[in-house]
């Protein structure tokens, strides 16, 4: 493993609530959590239930002290609920930086708040690790050897997207983002769904030319009409975003808890077909799946 390497591993790809069981076994049932390794730096995006398994993995694979740079898209349950079960948080040798926008330690407070009183038997203050709130300076921050930029997204209560830059490569983590509310022509997407859905320039910028975009793609087109305003986009709209921004690989994630493995396969293959039909031959599209590691 060279120090210039950038790896991404999916630990939780489910939206809203964990979905154990045979229907979801292949893609996995744990909620949002992605590990990014930038050389020796360990960055974690979201602390859904997938974080527990990352903790188990770290416990088995390393004896040296763990430093985690933790970024939370927002504090909805499916993005924080794994934290109290993250083994390394109980070790005094561990350091965890919890990042939030400048002048705002809301993420740190909400992460600790879920461990108060009746919700959980262990207090946040009783955790062995050094857990520190850190802020972005403006819209970017140096996290170990990587640089992370943040951008705001469309979601009830707000959410943040993150772009990691390392050794000339880039990965964007963008979940819980209702792109469909921000389309230049929202009605057109209903009336002529096959046409390219145009997005404002400021939305393209944070994902422009990314090597990998990991994006919330919770709904199929025919499901969305009943779910407008719930905070998640149509998978097909994410395809159009990636295509217009020149993204190389697109991982569809935050899978709907109602979707079985086969239904996710259908969403993914429709997305692939759409990209080909619209003439974006080079965009590679796949469904994010637990236990898969990509080298960027």
């Amino acid at each position: 493993m060279s120090s210039e390497d950038l790896f991404v591993r999916f630990w939780g790809v489910r939206g809203s609530i964990p979905t154990p069981g045979p229907r979801t076994r292949r893609y996995g049932g744990n909620t949002s959590c992605v590990e990014v390794r930038a050389g020796k730096t360990l960055l974690v995006f979201d602390a859904g239930t997938g974080l527990r398994e990352l903790g188990v993995h770290l416990g088995r694979s390393t004896d040296s002290p763990v430093t985690v740079h933790l970024f939370l898209s927002h504090p909805h349950w499916d993005h924080i609920q794994g934290f109290p079960f993250f083994g390394p948080a109980y070790e005094s040798s561990t350091t965890i930086y919890v990042y939030g926008p400048r002048g705002d330690d809301k993420h740190y407070q909400l992460l600790s708040g879920q461990m108060s009183n009746a919700y959980f038997p262990v207090r946040f203050s009783e955790l062995g690790a050094r857990i520190l709130a850190r802020s972005f300076k403006g819209t970017s921050v140096d996290a170990g050897d990587a640089t992370v930029h943040l951008f705001e997204q469309k979601h009830p209560g707000g959410s943040l997207g993150f772009r990691v830059e390392y050794a000339g490569k880039s990965v964007v983590f963008s979940t819980d983002n209702e792109l469909d509310q921000l389309l230049l022509d929202k009605q057109a997407a209903f009336e002529s769904p096959d046409e390219l859905r145009k997005l404002p320039k400021e939305l393209l910028k944070p994902v422009q030319d990314a090597d990998l975009l990991i994006a919330d793609a919770q709904y199929a087109d025919d499901e969305y009409a009943q779910r407008v305003g719930w905070g998640h986009p149509r998978a097909n709209t994410v395809v159009d975003l990636a295509a217009q921004a020149g993204v190389r690989r697109l991982a569809l994630t935050h899978h709907d808890p109602m979707h079985s493995d086969r239904e996710i396969d259908v969403v993914v293959s429709e997305a692939e077909l759409r990209a080909r039909r619209l003439g974006f031959e080079d965009l590679e599209i796949f469904g994010a799946r637990e236990g898969v590691t990509l080298k960027i």
């Binding site: 790896f7 591993r9 076994r25 292949r26 590679e284 796949f286 799946r289 637990e290 236990g291 898969v292 590691t293 990509l294 080298k295």
Partner: protein, 128 residues
């Protein structure tokens, strides 16, 4: 189920433990091993029974899971077992490892997955 005992306190029986020991499916039984079957390319039809904790896959003479193709690197990938599941990991191969068509560095395998190493396509079949 709460049960009123004489006096004013309630006793709770541990119903779960009691019932679970009687469930038939929980009796230990012999495991059927996971399999990798070559479904396309050189060696088509070959089946590998996966029983060891580690396999080295490649065309080299000293690997434990040998694939006879020039498009496969001498040491192409490793298969490791943890908690009864196998993970494939690319060992700096020339042509990479594809999981159902997607180039991956590593992946925990699931029933029905297709792995491609060079021009050799293998199907992973989970035992029980």
């Amino acid at each position: 189920m709460p049960r009123r005992s004489p006096g004013s306190t309630q006793d709770f029986e541990d119903v779960h433990t009691r019932v679970a020991t009687r469930v038939r499916g929980l009796r230990p039984r012999p495991e059927r091993p996971h399999l990798l079957e070559v479904v396309d390319g050189p060696g088509k039809g070959t089946r590998f029974r996966l029983e060891a904790a580690l396999y080295e896959m490649g065309r080299g003479a000293n690997v434990s899971l040998q694939l006879d193709s020039d498009e496969v690197s001498r040491l192409h990938a490793r298969l490791t077992r943890a908690d009864g599941e196998y993970t494939v990991e690319d060992a700096h191969s020339r042509n990479g490892v594809l999981l159902n068509g997607l180039r991956v560095h590593a992946a925990v395998l699931r029933d029905g997955d297709e792995l491609q190493l060079g021009d050799v396509v293998l199907k992973y079949l989970e035992g029980t």
